[in-house]
Symmetry: C2
Subunit: 188 residues, 2 copies
DNA sequence: CTAGATATATATCTAATAGATATATAAACA
DNA sequence: TGTTTATATATCTATTAGATATATATCTAG
């Protein structure tokens, strides 16, 4: 079974929303789908080349005003078919690599004050992401017209991000009280 | 800033618990820390070589009975120091790559029956993991002696896995009713 | 008792990925 | 005016995922 790049499909997903340049795709991952996906330039530009060779995507150069050229990519009907097939395949597990959990697996090796800092930093970060997701849902509810078939999925998708971050925040509270308990015990 | 392999540190973490062979480490990731970490043989054996070169780890060949030799690795004091430094560094963000979310971002392109299958499969998988984690906590509470300083961290660590999986299960319910609603609408 | 499956153990290879950097122009800014 | 930020593409390397190869030992079902 030959492994298949997921970058291929993430590009097809993005182009199924609207035509974009490689730069646009990087922005899209950063601003719209950063909640659950990430791509680097290295992945985007090299994968675009193979997608064109395979006829799943076409690119045309565009010039607007004095700006330098850019290439806007579009998904082909073959590309849509390939995307459709992949969407129907079972979801493959995501490999877990949670650095926070790895570090606290040997929690006794971390000075208590540092442990506390780790937790507080994680809390802050999760809160920020939570806030961003809630705002995104509000914006979608107001601005995306009801006729857009993606709307309900986009909102529910953001809900997953919210629920997971709320869970992590709850866990941070548990870990924080474990650590604070150990700190106060150590002061006796 | 040169990138540093996280496999290095995951090996040091495992060896800080107890000496192990490469094979043991693979088993350890699969059975003990699969909740939040994963390593492949390719990573383990090649990284072990560089860790030995750097003096962070030593390996000695062992023979038990008729069994073929194996090499058991131990962390050195230098290794412990390096691990301790890494444990105090801020936690770097984990790159998000959630295939389930990516697919449902273009939910309208998936046939409703297939969407339902995806959700039901994910639900099943999360339930299994949840069950495994709950059992692991029970086992730890009973079998790990109170004097082991890691105990409270191990239990709280498993709690994170539980909370996150419960959140995902709750989301599955939301997504399931969205899809079932669309299915019944489509039958009118 | 024996063929096949599973567990122990190490090693290696390739495709995929993360993250950094290089390059160049245009626009914003201070 | 010089500096930073945004647009845009391209490329390179270290890291990682996943597969496969090899060999022995042990378990198990016919």
């Amino acid at each position: 079974m030959s492994r298949k790049s997921k970058t291929r499909y993430s590009i097809l997903v993005m182009l199924s929303i609207e035509p974009m340049s490689g730069y646009d795709m990087k922005q899209f991952t950063k601003e719209v789908i950063s909640n659950f996906w990430s791509e680097s330039y290295g992945q985007i530009y090299t994968t675009l080349k193979t997608l064109i060779e395979e006829g799943l995507v076409t690119g045309k150069e565009i010039e607007e005003g004095k700006k330098p050229y850019k290439t806007v990519y579009e998904i082909t009907s073959k590309g849509s078919r390939v995307l459709g097939e992949w969407l129907c395949e079972p979801i493959s597990r995501q490999v877990p690599r949670d650095e926070l959990s790895l570090k606290f697996f040997v929690g006794p090796l971390i000075p208590l004050e540092v442990s506390l800092q780790h937790i507080l930093a994680h809390k802050e970060q999760q809160k920020k992401q939570l806030d961003k997701l809630k705002k995104a849902i509000n914006r979608m509810e107001e601005e995306v017209p009801e006729e857009v078939p993606h709307k309900a999925y986009w909102i529910t998708g953001s809900r997953l991000g919210i629920l997971v971050r709320e869970a992590r925040l709850k866990w941070c509270d548990e870990m924080e009280s474990l650590i604070r308990g150990k700190i106060s015990k150590s002061k006796n």
